[in-house]
Structure formats: C-alpha cells, structure tokens
C-alpha cells in the first residue's frame, strides 16, 4: 500500500488517540499536528527521468514538473534532484548539477529568434520563418558561389569550405546524427564540436 506523508500523519493521529496519550487527554494533538504539516511538495508533481546536462559523468537526474499538460496548463519544472537508481551517481549531484533548475529557469534563456543587422548595436525580434528562410538563402548563396566540384587535378571532390559549422556536444545523439547527415550532404567540411578543444 502506498502511504503518502500526509496520510501517514493521519494514521499516526488515529493511533495516538487510541493510545495512552489519548487517555491522558492529548487526543487532539495528533490531529493538530497532521493539519499543520505542509503537503509533500513533489507529491502532485510529474517525475521525469533525465540526464544532467553538464559533464560527461552524465549523472541521472529526476525532474519534477507541475501542470498536467492539458491545453491551458503548461508543464513547468519545479525541482531537479539526483536519480538514486543511477549506478554512477547514486542520487548525488555536484554544485553544478544541483543547481540545474536555475539553468532551466535562467534569465539568459532565449525565447525568440533575434536578428542583428550589419553595423547595428542591437538585436531585434524576428519570426522563425523570417530567420530560417534568410539563413537558408545565405547558406545557399555561399554554397552555390564557392562549392568546389573538382580540384586542380580534375578529381571530383564536391566540397564546401567557405562556411563553418560548430555542432554542440550538449545535444542528443539523435540531434547530432541529424546535424551530421544534413551538413555533410551539403559538402561542408569545416564541421567541428567541443571534443576538439
């Protein structure tokens, strides 16, 4: 039987009332105590298994979020702690991982695509559609102009070297694989990530 902390206090209170403590006239004490206990904060939260985003110990974390995901009840992360099941970190987290909630909620988190015009001293908000179309156009322009189909010896080389792409080792394997596939299909050779540096 699963017993929540609040239920446990109620059961305990009933026990108290029936005991010698109750006989001594303290029968209401347990009820008062149970009423004063705050509900366990994470009881109603959704628990999600995840991995700490920082170093490559890749500690298991449990993310607790509130909001059931219905149309107007957006889920929001409220707490992150170490996953006691994970064989490597066994529930522990370091000063970085223990503060991972502050990363999720950081004021420096980006919300909207931004654009800085040449020579400007500010970012301006733009739509995804504007940003992605412009980026695809810029990439295609540079690729079409500077693509090298054959080298000086006439060997087919099909490479593009005038645009670079730094991928991130903070992304998932699945995202990284897709980056590789897409970027290499363009012939782009300057493709790197943090493993190099």
């Amino acid at each position: 039987m699963a017993v929540s902390r609040r239920q446990f206090m109620k059961v305990s209170a009933a026990g108290l009332a029936a005991s010698s403590v109750g006989a001594l006239g303290f029968g209401g004490a347990g009820d008062a105590l149970a009423a004063g206990v705050r509900p366990y904060k994470l009881e109603r939260a959704t628990e999600t298994r995840n991995t700490c985003p920082y170093c490559s110990v890749s500690c298991g974390v449990l993310i607790y979020s509130m909001g059931d995901g219905s149309k107007n009840a957006k889920s929001s992360v409220i707490h992150i702690e170490g996953d006691p099941d994970n064989p490597v970190n066994r529930g522990t987290l370091c000063p970085r991982g223990a503060a991972a909630l502050d990363f999720v909620k950081s004021p420096q988190r980006l919300k909207y695509p931004m654009h800085r015009k040449p020579g400007s001293d500010k970012f301006e908000r733009v739509t995804w559609d504007f940003a992605m179309d412009r980026i695809a156009t810029l990439m295609k322009e540079d690729r079409d102009k500077n693509f090298i189909a054959k080298n000086r010896d006439g060997v087919t080389v099909n490479r593009w070297t005038s645009t670079g792409f730094f991928g991130t080792s903070a992304q998932t394997n699945e995202a990284g694989y897709l980056v590789y596939k897409v970027i290499r299909a363009t012939g782009l050779l300057p493709l790197e990530n943090q493993a190099r540096i």
Binding site: P118, Y177, T186
Partner: protein
C-alpha cells in the same frame, strides 16, 4: 574510457594526472572514494596545483605544466630498468618482441624521415616492422634482437633518469621515485592501476602522445583489459562522447570511419588502403569489416539512391584536401576565407584560443547564426562591453541570427557518457517562449535548402535532393526514429550463410549486432558501433536494471555500452595466454573450456579457443597492443618530451629541437608565441567545481557561488611582485592581457626547473561579458593559437605570461 566510472572501484592504485576529478567530475570521483574505502586503493595525484583531488590523495607530486611525457617516460625507464613490468603480459599481448625496420632511428630530438627543408616527417615508412615473405611482422620471441620494440623502447627512455625528470618537470626525485614504486605494485595481475585524465593531458602540443605514454605504462604493467585498469578519459560535456562517436569532426564519419581525401578519387581508391590484412598469422584484424560499415552508413544517408552502380554514392561525400579543424576555421575567418558560420551550442568567441584573433575573424564574417538555449558572448560579439569587450558595433558588418534552442529538460533522446554507456532521457516540459529543439531547427534548415535546390537548382544538388528523409513528421523527426536509423536494419531478407534455407533477419527488422552488416547494400546503419542500441527487443538505451550480478560494477542491463554492450574494452586480456584469469582477485573474462565467459561481454570471438593464439587487441592488424605505434602518430612512434610552444626553458634533451617539431601552427601565428625573457611566469588554465565552461555564469546559484574571475598565485611570486591577496593584477601574454583579482595561495608553489625557480599561476576559464556573474575579460585573451598535430587540440594548459599589480577595471564590473 576503456573501462567505466563504476569500474574505478576495482582499482588498487589510482593515478589522477592531467585531470582533477574531485572538482571537475565530483560524482564520478565517488568511485575513487569507494576504491580507497573498500579496496584499500592508494590515490596518487600528479598536478602543478594542490587540487582537491590532491587534498584526498595518499601521495601528491607536483609537476611543471607541459612536462608529463618526461615524467611518464621516466616511469617507463624505472619499470623496465628494475624489472617491474608484467613480463608475461607484455610479451604475449604487446608488440614488445616485434622487430623494427633498420631505417628507424631517433637523434637529437628528431625521428627518422625528417625533412629539414619541409620541416616535417616526409617519410614515415621506417616507423614500422620488418616483414617476412608472407607480409607478416617478424618477431624475436627471445627478445634478444636489439631491434625488438622493447629494446628500442629501453634505449629511447634511458635518457629520462630521475635526475632528468627532476630537472625538466621540477618534481623532486624522491617524490618521483615514490610514484614509480606505487605504480610498480600493480605489475602482476593481482593488483591493478587505473589512470584518470582529462584536458590536463589533451590540451598540449604533445597531447596525443601524453596519452600514448600512459597507455604504454598500462601495457607494461599489464593493466589494459583488466578490472580496475585501463586508460580513462573523463571527458567534458554530457554528450561529448556521443558527438565524437557521431563524428561532428572535420575529417571523420560516424563510428570512427574516415572521410575520403583528394588522393582517393574512386571508391576503389578509398578502400585500397583499408584492407587491414592481418600482420600476424590468424589474427582477427576487425577493421577488415570496414567496407560493411561504410556501405551500410551510405545506405542510411542516401537510401535507395546509394547503389552498387554509383559506388554507394561515394562522390556525394566531400573529399578533404586538408583538416578544417577548429583552429583552421578560426584562421580562415581571420584571413577572410570564411563567409558564414553556424555556432550551435558552442561559444567559440570564448572557447577558442587567442580571443583577439577570434574576434578579428568573426568581424569579417558576412553572417553568423547561433543556436543555443542561452545568451552567449558569441551571439553578441558585435556589442560593446567597455574594456571587457571593446568593439565598434558600427564597423562590424556581420549579419547575426540568434536562434533559441530547448535544453536537456525539454527534449528526449540519448546521451553517451564517458563510460560509453548510451542512456535515454525523457522530456519534462516545453522550452521557454518560441524555443525549438535542435532536431526541429536542423530539419527546418534542411527542408528549406532542399526546397530551394529543387526549385532553383544550384551547385551539385544531388546529395541534398537524395538525402534519406523518411521520417513520420519530416519537419520534426522523432528521436526514436533517428536512433533506429543509427542502429541500422535489414533492407532485404538476410539469409544465414551457414544454412541458406534459414533467414537471419527479415527485411525491415532492426540489426541486433554490427556482425550482420554487409557491404552489398542489404543493410543500413548510421553508426556501426551503436548497433545493438535499438533492436527488435526495443530501445535498449532505456534499460534501467540496477543489478550488478558479479559485483564488479558492470551493470549489464543499465543502458547500452558501445560496442556490443561491452563495459571493459580489451577484456580478453584479463586472462593469460591460456585463457586463465591472471588472478582470482582480478577474474573478469576467461575461457571455460568451450567458450569465453565472465562478468562482461567478451571483447573477442566467443568460441575461439586460446590455443589459436588470436591476440586480444582485435582491432589491430597484429592482434597485440602497440608499445611502438608504427606510423599511426604523426609526430613519432614513441612519445618524446618537447617543451610547450611558449617554452620556459630550452629542452635539456635536445636544445636545438626544443619544442615539438610538428605542431598545428598557422603561418601568421608564429609571432604569437612568447619567450621567457618577456614572459617569465608559467600559466595554466582550469575549471572550478562550481562552474561549467562559459555556461553556468548564466545560472544563478553558480554565479553566486563563484561570482567573479580570479587568478591563483603562489606566495613567492606574489611577494616578489609586491602583490597582496585581493589586489587587482594584469596578466599579459604575447596574445593579449586581462585584469583580475588575485588569490594568493599555498596551493601553487615554485619548482626548481633546470636550475631556475619556476612560478606557476592558475587561471579559471569561466568568465565573460554575458550572464549573472561579474563581467570579466576572457581568459582566452592569453592562450596561444597552437595545437597538437594529431588532434589539433589547443595548448591551453601551459603557456607564458607576466604579471603586475594594477587598478580595478574602469567599467562597472557588475553586468
């Protein structure tokens, strides 16, 4: 890692050198604590600074930054000279007995094949074995031939006496010898030593050779393939292992395959040097399967469009003429050869060396795109931040896009940790505002490019138009679909070669092992080493069984370890030549009379008997591990001590070849190197336990815990320069300068190096002009734009500076 985080508990001796796990990998370090508490392990820390790892060590020895090869070569001399090697292991499982070609030699700091005019090793053919008529390597089992690898190694390391180690490294002789003695206690198969390293070894112009030197020691001690042994890279980001495996690296393709180069005009040219014929009779030489992995990968990329007739779309991959690594990209930007740059979650303005050069390069870009969950200095390189980042926005004509990405809590997918274990994680919430996942952003970019090429044509659209894209939602492929594609599947029914009436796998079924991959186009698979992670049994990376049946820290059903769910690599070497465990204590994988069995998946053909003499290092053509690396390393078949490029002293071993003769250094950067007459102080960079790279300065708790940049300085230097704790100082190198507060400490003490005192200062890397911590100069104002020739990793760990007292920065220090 060759082994795993949990496996550290099996060690009897732990060497932390080139890393600082207690502060940089605290939750992995618990397995060091476990080994000390429950296995009687002794912890050795060798580091320029008395770190928190050192604080709990059984023995600490100081070392001057950038001299690890001198130290480790001295250890090899000690082990070989005092008969403290595991002789049976070394003879059976390494190339110790192999005979090296007559032409090989080493003199005055240079290996044979050096061309003085071209300043490189033009001919490395002498760095190899003598071959017999059958093309097999010649071996002298008696080890009497002076050209045997082990005898050449003895001669090579003979110069690294304890006195020479002290002179170069600044490590007192008695401390050095104490470390040697502690390591030597594991040369027996009864006890093992593990080696834990990180950027302290890689970020040098001798980085790759640092790690080779350690691997050689572990082979001499018989610690490879053993529980509690191995050479273990602790590594950086949560998925740096996965992204390395998946090859976001200029000349690589997923699974440690290599892109074609200009000399490989056709697929046949490409495969010709990749036959990987065994160099000893009967050896596995597993890379003989290279073609199967390559063709299956091309099928994953291009689907039905990759055919035998078009050589599996060989021409659709770019061929490289040179390495476009990070240092090269920055150099091309600085020379105006780069028009566009996409920085996905990589803060290049702060992360690359020589910030003035990076900034000059970025300012020449026509356009820049950043994809990141956080605001970064890279996205705002055009913005003026007073003396911390003094630019003229008007003069920077770069068009910049800053795209908001989701973070770990907001997507699902897998990360691969440094134990090579692939672990799935689930989504907890949506990202803020209009942020999108990396998958959605990249898919959007691709779909737009494809539409534009389909409509308007352009340069060689074939690979873009034919890229396999059979995702349920083409605008946002599901992570599970992508992991299946990485794993691979049968494209047609696969008949059993032993019995053609049987079918091993039906068309469309997921591959259970890379052993089923084929080079005839009947299988697909994006990254062969990941095969087995997503099979007909489901997504194995989701497995969360916490049991450890043998108690050796294996956890076989937690996630999936590549390759083949193997937790300790080369584990057949945990048994002797007859297949018997070296000791009862270290029993791990052994021959039971009919097959290999034990705690782990054998790294070996499961039913090949020991009397077949198949070596345990199945990836090598020899079947043995290499004490002599043949031509595999660009800068020599044995490691050699060279000074860092900002050299504190002339190399006592060969003053005319003081630094590594081949390094990653661009023409215009030779002027960027410093000399000790102008910059007499040695500097090294490192990470704080409260911060992660340039990331957590935007995280409240961490910005509170360590709010501002500081420089660690020893008491002697501070006193000599009239600097007190908390003073503002200016640190200058040949590249640039920074101002920061000083922390005067006992953790850094001067060493005597080649007869002169050597002071070392320590520089955390984490600060910049964006975030919640105090604004600061970038530490990379100081670091040199030069890297290792094999890995192109920059030399962040050893360079020269000068220091002087100054006043607080003029601009407000609070952002």
């Amino acid at each position: 890692m060759t082994n795993s985080w949990n496996d550290i508990k099996n060690a009897d001796v732990i060497l932390i050198m080139g890393g600082n796990a207690a502060e940089a990998h605290p939750c992995g370090f618990k397995w060091v604590t476990e080994a000390k508490a429950n296995n009687g392990a002794k912890l050795i820390v060798v580091d320029p600074r008395f770190t928190r790892s050192a604080a709990v060590a059984d023995f600490y020895a100081p070392i001057r930054p950038g001299t690890d090869i001198a130290f480790l070569s001295g250890v090899m001399r000690y082990l070989l000279g005092n008969n403290k090697i595991h002789a049976e292991y070394t003879k059976a499982f390494t190339n110790a007995a192999y005979i090296v070609k007559d032409g090989y030699g080493f003199q005055d700091g240079l290996f044979s094949g050096w061309d003085e005019a071209k300043k490189t090793y033009v001919d490395r053919s002498s760095w190899d074995y003598e071959l017999d008529e059958q093309g097999m390597a010649k071996v002298d089992e008696t080890l009497q031939n002076p050209r045997c690898v082990i005898n050449l190694l003895k001669a090579h390391v003979e110069r690294y006496t304890p006195e020479m180690v002290e002179r170069i490294c600044g490590t007192p002789k008695a401390k050095f010898l104490q470390v040697c003695e502690m390591m030597a206690t594991t040369a027996n198969g009864e006890r093992t030593m593990t080696s834990m390293y990180a950027l302290g070894w890689t970020q040098h112009t001798t980085g790759s050779q640092n790690i080779r030197a350690m691997a050689m020691i572990q082979l001499l001690l018989g610690n490879m393939g053993m529980p509690g042994g191995g050479v273990n890279a602790l590594r950086g980001h949560a998925n740096v292992q996965g992204i390395t495996d998946l090859a976001l690296l200029t000349t690589s393709t997923p699974g440690y395959l290599v892109l074609p180069n200009d000399r490989e005009a056709t697929f046949a040219d490409y495969m010709k040097p990749r036959g990987f014929k065994p160099l000893r009779p009967g050896q596995t030489s597993f890379w003989q399967n290279y073609g199967k992995f390559f063709v299956s990968q091309q099928k994953a990329f291009f689907g039905a469009a990759a055919t035998k007739d078009n050589d599996w779309a060989y021409d659709w991959l770019p061929k490289f003429d040179t390495s476009y690594d990070t240092l090269k990209i920055v150099d091309m930007m600085a020379n105006g050869q780069m028009n566009g740059l996409v920085a996905q979650g990589l803060n290049i303005l702060m992360a690359a060396p020589d910030k003035p050069k990076v900034l000059a390069g970025m300012s020449k870009l026509k356009w820049l795109v950043t994809i990141d969950p956080l605001d970064t200095e890279t996205a705002r390189f055009w913005e003026n931040h007073g003396e911390f980042h003094n630019v003229d926005s008007k003069s920077i004509q770069t068009e910049v896009f800053q795209l908001p990405a989701t973070a770990f809590a907001e997507d699902e997918g897998s990360f691969t940790n440094s134990s090579r274990v692939i672990q799935w994680h689930w989504k907890a919430a949506d990202g803020p505002g209009e942020s999108r996942s990396d998958i959605q952003i990249v898919a959007d970019l691709f779909n737009r490019l494809k539409a534009k090429y389909a409509k308007d044509g352009g340069a060689f659209p074939d690979p873009i138009l034919n890229l396999a894209w059979n995702y349920t939602n083409p605008a946002n492929p599901a992570p599970a679909e992508l992991l299946k594609e990485i794993n691979g599947y049968a494209l047609e029914d696969l008949p059993d070669p032993a019995d053609p009436s049987k079918t091993l796998l039906r068309a469309g079924q997921l591959l259970p092992t890379f052993g089923l991959m084929r080079d005839d186009g009947k299988t697909s698979g994006g990254c062969w080493i990941y095969t087995g992670v997503y099979t007909e049994a489901g997504n194995i990376s989701m497995k969360r069984d916490t049991s450890d049946p043998t108690g050796k820290g294996v956890y076989p059903n937690w996630g999936f370890a590549w390759p083949a769910n193997r937790r300790v690599l080369y584990n057949r070497a945990s048994a002797d030549a007859n297949g018997k465990p070296w000791s009862e204590r270290k029993k791990y994988v052994w021959w039971n009379g009919s097959r290999w069995t034990g705690a782990d998946v054998p790294d070996y053909a499961p039913t090949v008997a020991p009397d077949k003499n198949v070596g345990p290092f199945i990836m090598n053509q020899e079947g043995t591990a290499r004490l002599f690396s043949r031509a595999g390393m660009a800068d020599g078949p044995f490691p050699e001590h060279y000074e860092p490029m900002d050299a504190f002293i002339a190399n006592p071993l060969h003053p005319k070849v003081s630094t590594n003769p081949i390094v990653r250094l661009f023409k215009d950067d030779a002027k960027s190197l410093g000399t000790p007459d102008k910059f007499p102080v040695v500097a090294t960079t490192y990470r704080l336990t409260e911060h992660f790279h340039y990331w957590t300065k935007s995280v409240h708790t961490n910005a509170v815990l360590q709010p501002e940049m500081f420089v660690e300085m020893g008491e002697r230097l501070a006193k000599a320069r009239g600097i007190a704790n908390g003073d503002w100082i200016e640190v200058t190198s040949q590249r640039g300068s920074i101002k920061a507060k000083v922390l005067v400490t006992k953790r850094l003490r001067p060493m005597m190096v080649d007869g002169k005192p050597c002071d070392v200062i320590g520089l955390p890397i984490h600060y910049g002009f964006v975030g919640q911590a105090r604004k600061s100069y970038g530490t990379n104002n100081l670091t040199p734009p030069v890297g290792d020739i094999s890995a192109s990793t920059p030399e962040f760990k050893a360079f020269l500076v000068d220091v002087k007292k100054t006043t607080a920065p003029a601009a407000p220090a609070v952002s």
